[in-house]
Assembly symmetry: C2
């Protein structure tokens, strides 16, 4: 499980409540780790029981109270240990690749429609990433530490999306579909 570690990284950057973490995951962190709020709550509860994080309730004038979590020293140690462990290769699971490979067992034109639509979605996501990159990191050479790492992970996301889109275009072109 690495949702634990992703939460520790995010909370190390800045303490937050469950829903705030969920929003962060939807926005920036979601590029490399996705999670629903239910799972975030469950894991936070478990981590608090294990002493990796601690919470305190914050009264809010406008709306409901929230439980803000921060990383404990034990949590920092735990994260630091995990960071130095070798990462085993991540399992690959791509619905789209299964569909491409199985296309001849279905209606090829409809599969191509599916691929085309996916390519369009990923092109938009790529534009999104590029815009974020240009907006948040106008001068990458000036970055260091935490910000540099955030920038580089975003760069990795951009490279990944570029190759993903390129692969889908190659598929569509080989099957005689024009790509914009």
């Amino acid at each position: 499980m690495a949702l634990e570690h992703a939460l520790l990284v995010s909370l190390s950057e800045q303490p937050a409540s469950g829903l705030e973490l969920n929003r962060r995951f939807e926005r920036s962190i979601g590029r490399f780790w996705q999670a629903t709020h239910q799972q975030i709550y469950r894991v936070l509860t478990r981590m608090e029981a294990a002493g990796l994080v601690a919470s305190h309730t914050v009264e809010q004038h406008g709306t409901a109270n929230k439980k803000v979590y921060r990383v404990t020293p034990a949590g920092t140690t735990f994260l630091s240990t995990w960071l130095a462990e070798p990462a085993e290769p991540e399992p690959i699971r791509s619905d789209l690749a299964v569909k491409m490979r199985g296309a001849s067992f279905g209606d090829i034109e409809r599969v191509l429609d599916v691929i085309e639509r996916a390519a369009e979605e990923h092109r938009q996501r790529l534009e999104n990433f590029r815009a974020m990159c240009a907006r948040n990191y106008p001068d990458p050479s000036a970055l260091s530490g935490l910000e540099l790492d955030q920038y580089l992970v975003l760069r990795g996301g951009i490279l990944g999306e570029e190759s993903y889109v390129a692969g889908l275009r190659e598929y569509l072109t080989a099957h005689g579909r024009e790509t914009p």
Copy 2:
């Protein structure tokens, strides 16, 4: 669940037993879908109960008998329907990205070692893919149908690995590590 669909694609190409499917997944199909033999057996059992595949036992002179599965007409319809359904964006989960982003909360040099090692593994996987591509598809322009799709999915894997390695190198370079 899409292991079901991956199995149907593989069995449509060629009937097979559970362990044979497992070997195929380790070799070629494993590029886009990974599964353990336990899970394959479980899913095959469920699919047979649902009428998507049928099995018959094959006596083998040398060793234990095996159960060979083939796709039923109901299975073909099921697969064809799924192929035409839009694919929702796949959840992204990358341990390595979490480590890169969290590097400043641990020992940066040891994190760089981890990244370097991962980069080396992926470089090897990339070489592997390229060799398979050159060996199995010496003349891509002559391909069509099933073989063309197999080639294109492999191409997608190559593009993905190339960008993955490029991202890791960018990270290492930005942190002052020489990359070979």
